[in-house]
């Protein structure tokens, strides 16, 4: 049964690493802005845009 001591130690260490990760993230400002990233991720890459735009422009001008 004494293996339990080690396992408990590991479980505590594991959860402690989560806590540290959270504290680090909040210190780095990960929770400062909870809205803009949700919009940002949906934007297409601007390089793909370029080709499409050139086609558009040829039609338009």
């Amino acid at each position: 049964m004494s293996v339990l001591f080690i396992l408990i130690g590991f479980s505590l260490l594991l959860s402690l690493s989560f806590l540290i990760a959270f504290l680090w993230a909040s210190k780095k400002g990960q929770f400062d802005d909870t809205y803009t990233p949700s919009v940002r991720i949906l934007f297409d890459d601007i390089k793909d845009e370029k080709k499409e735009n050139n086609n558009d422009r040829m039609e338009n001008f």
């Binding site: 049964m1 339990l4 001591f5 408990i8 479980s11 505590l12 959860s15 402690l16 989560f18 806590l19 959270f22 504290l23 909040s26 929770f31 400062d32 802005d33 909870t34 809205y35 803009t36 919009v39 940002r40 949906l42 934007f43 297409d44 601007i46 845009e49 370029k50 735009n53 558009d56 422009r57 338009n60 001008f61």
Partner: protein, 803 residues
């Protein structure tokens, strides 16, 4: 009124406004003005066309009325240095507030700024705060050209005197979330380690394990005790220092005893301790606090004149112009103020005339004409040409800004200690402590060895967790519901104060009246459609607020070219269309000699003559908000109402009609008069709620028990206040106040529920039967029922009231 002719409207692809005609276009895309067309072209040339694909018509109408050297002050190193967040040899970082940010297209464009300007390394938008931070190479470009670029595409940053004071910038966010995280982590682990103890019948858990888990729990609870819970100890200490038993006193007492008792049990090996209850309690309490801490990032509740005043001004010295920070202005300096710029200090007019818009101070946008030697108060905006002024007082000593030097403003706002939970906690603490002593005394007689255990059990179980949670949770949800209805409170405590209000004060201009829209009526000979188009085309040339209003009002769509356009200050505007002279302005200017010019704050008349023939006049008067009569009759059943106005008595009759039961009407009140009036009422025992809008109400808003700023546009200036309400929602004030009253009843009922639980728990405690398991079960159940009750009943109340 002539009938309105409608043609199919062409909508500008950039900003979505109506195009006056179809003349400005690129291929089959139409624009309302050349400004919009310019931005469209610029973006397309830089492969930024997706701006128009992400959202429909995302653009902002570009006002092309800025001077070329509008941002010249940014070349002044002293000023630009204050604006930069960071700067080294190569790069600089600047954070700007851009109120125009409103959609995802804005984010996309502003974050691709490097496509428009090669010196930009990266740019980031914080949408909710409407902030843009730009990293750029400062040897390749200047801050000025960067900001000019932003302004040219419609995103002109708001730079004010506030930015000049570094200290007020960047307040570090509180560490409440970190406290919650630590408490949550420890709570969850302690629960895990306590589980064997819950399940074990006697002796199943070996001695070794029990000890091991016990010490582990003790270790884990130390950060909760020292770090997470410390805010309660601090608050209780400050409360006791002021001889007030606030809610945090019984909480601190509870957690202190829980912790000490548990530590004792572990060290003496006499039991498993109550660490699970202890950490759970702190965790739940902190979550309640977090819930209450709803902040509206894009609103500023603390803005004073500094958020609106310009950062710099042009000073004339020996015929040369110099840009200086406004804080450096001294009495006797000569300053130059251009169109649409704000006058930063009380001054004397040196030029022959000026047209001053005091809308920021009084809420009224019709400009006031001034002549040489007239005194002009700080806060006015010059409309028209460039004027010269002599500074009479320092910026901080001016008529309006002086208010902030008043003792009321420097005194720290005392947080309400008389709130319902604190009043309640006094009786609660006293009764719990006496029950604990009584129980201990009785047990002393029966079984002395149990006496201390019983007394402590009473204190442990009676810890007012549910009690302390119900207030923040209820007020927090009320604050959210009101926020959805565009009434934003800085702190949720205000809702409780709202329930005790006895006297409501309204400012008139800008609060009861709409500051933007106004009613326009035409009196005189009938105007043909052509004539209306003439007038409309003419007024389009002028930036005078009355012209703008008239332009928006007239229904035609045809725009003519104006030749020989003239704008004569104090008189009016004139121009020729197909050799027909059109004049719009004062009566005498338009050739009407019989009518004297009526100048009044609430009503302006704009006269019209076409081809030297006098036609008639437009009466432009401030419009009262909708629903005020109903609001007045609702409010007068419960509250005293007064009107405080800075204007003259001309509207007394209308106001009396609207507020038949009002206590009093006061006119020609200076900002200081308003403040003193509020004080006077408070001396007589009234709890005052003040509605105001301009800077002239700032003193009264601050002095009042609750000051609520009324605003048309959430991103525009509103003076320091406890709350901000959207103008169109003012008519619902009565409903919101009823809702707050209901919220207080909900809190009282929650108190009742938590007392029932306490009686139940105390029963066990007094009998000496309190086990850690019972405490650990009872505490969350009571908290959850109270929280659930509070949240659900506020939702139901809101739905019943239709908000």
């Amino acid at each position: 009124m002539p009938t309105i002719k409608t043609t199919k409207d062409i909508i500008c692809i950039h900003c979505g406004e109506k195009c006056p005609n179809g003349s400005i276009s690129i291929e089959n895309k139409y624009f309302c003005c050349n400004g919009c067309k310019f931005v469209y072209k610029l973006l397309h040339e830089n492969n930024l066309g997706s701006y128009y694909k992400i959202e429909d018509k995302p653009g902002i109408k570009v006002s092309d009325k800025l001077y070329d050297n509008h941002f010249a002050y940014l070349d002044n190193e002293k000023i630009s240095g204050k604006l930069l967040d960071f700067s080294n040899k190569e790069i600089s970082i600047v954070t700007l507030i851009i109120p125009q940010i409103h959609c995802s297209s804005c984010i996309w464009l502003l974050e691709n700024l490097q496509k428009l300007h090669s010196a930009v390394i990266s740019s980031r938008v914080q949408f909710l705060k409407k902030e843009l931070s730009i990293t750029f190479k400062h040897n390749k470009t200047s801050l000025r050209s960067l900001i000019e670029l932003l302004a040219s595409i419609g995103y002109e940053p708001q730079i004010s005197l506030d930015d000049y004071n570094i200290e007020t910038k960047r307040k570090k966010g509180s560490s409440l979330i970190v406290r919650v995280a630590v408490a949550g982590f420890c709570f969850a682990n302690i629960m895990l380690f306590s589980f064997p103890e819950y399940l074990s019948s006697d002796g199943f858990l070996s001695e070794n394990f029990a000890k091991f888990f016990g010490y582990l729990n003790l270790l884990l609870s130390i950060p909760v005790f020292l770090f997470s819970a410390s805010i309660y100890f601090k608050s209780a200490y400050f409360g006791l220092k002021q001889k007030i038993i606030n809610m945090d006193v019984p909480i601190s007492l509870g957690i202190l005893i829980l912790f000490v008792r548990s530590v004792y049990e572990i060290i003496s090996s006499s039991g498993p301790g109550y660490f699970d209850s202890f950490t759970g309690l702190v965790f739940f309490l902190l979550i309640g606090k977090l819930f209450q801490q709803k902040t509206y990032e894009s609103l500023s509740f603390d803005s004073d004149y500094k958020s609106y005043f310009p950062i710099s001004i042009i000073k004339l010295t020996n015929q040369s112009e110099e840009i200086v920070p406004v804080t450096d202005l001294k009495q006797g300096d000569t300053i130059l103020v251009r169109n649409n710029e704000l006058i930063p200090a009380d001054s004397r007019l040196l030029s022959s005339h000026a047209s001053i818009d005091y809308s920021f101070v009084t809420g009224e946008s019709a400009p006031i004409e001034k002549a040489t030697d007239d005194k002009i108060y700080a806060g006015g905006k010059q409309l028209g040409g460039i004027i010269q002024l002599e500074v009479l007082k320092n910026v901080s000593q001016s008529y309006i800004t002086k208010l902030w030097n008043d003792a009321n403003f420097s005194a720290p706002s005392t947080k309400s200690l008389s709130n319902i939970a604190n009043r309640f906690s006094k009786y609660f603490t006293i009764s719990v402590v006496s029950i604990a002593f009584a129980a201990a005394f009785v047990w002393m007689l029966l079984d002395p060895s149990q006496a201390i255990f019983v007394g402590i059990s009473v204190l442990i179980i009676a810890c007012p967790c549910a009690l302390a949670l119900s207030t923040p949770i209820t007020l927090g949800s009320v604050q959210r519901i009101l926020g959805r209805n565009k009434l934003f409170f800085k702190e949720s405590d205000t809702i409780e104060k709202l329930a005790n209000i006895t006297h409501i004060l309204f400012d008139k201009t800008g609060t009861l009246t709409k500051s933007k829209s106004s009613s326009i009526k035409y009196y005189g000979k009938e105007l043909s459609d052509d004539n209306m188009s003439y007038i409309r085309s003419l007024v389009h040339q002028s930036t005078h607020p009355l012209s703008v209003k008239l332009y928006e009002h007239l229904p035609t769509n045809i725009t003519y070219n104006i030749e020989k356009f003239q704008e004569l200050p104090n008189k009016g505007i004139s121009g020729f269309i197909h050799n027909i002279e059109v004049k719009v302005g004062s009566a005498s200017f338009c050739g009407n000699t019989s009518e004297t010019d009526k100048k009044d704050i609430l009503e302006s008349r704009v006269h019209v003559s076409i081809d030297s023939l006098y036609f008639g006049y437009f009466k432009i008067s401030a419009e009262y908000r909708d629903g005020l009569i109903q609001l007045a009759s609702q409010l007068s059943t419960k509250y005293k109402i007064s009107i405080l106005s800075g204007d003259n008595q001309s509207e007394l009759a209308t106001l009396k009609n609207m507020f038949p039961k009002a206590e009093s009407f006061h006119f020609q009140m200076s900002p200081m008069d308003k403040l003193l009036h509020v004080k006077e009422l408070q001396k007589n025992g009234d709890k005052v709620l003040m509605f105001g809008d301009g800077l002239n109400d700032a003193g009264a808003l601050k002095q009042a028990d609750i000051g609520i700023a009324v605003t048309e546009n959430m991103s525009s200036f509103s003076p320091a206040s406890d709350g901000i309400i959207a103008g169109e929602k003012l008519a619902y004030t009565y409903t919101y106040m009823r809702f707050s009253n209901i919220a207080i009843s909900i809190i009282l009922v929650s108190f009742g529920i938590s007392i029932l639980y306490n009686i139940f728990g105390l029963g066990f405690a007094v009998m000496g039967l309190l086990s850690p398991l019972l405490a650990a079960v009872l505490m969350p159940i009571s908290s959850l029922t109270v929280v659930g009750f509070a949240v659900i009943s506020t939702k139901i109340a809101a739905r019943r009231l239709g908000i």
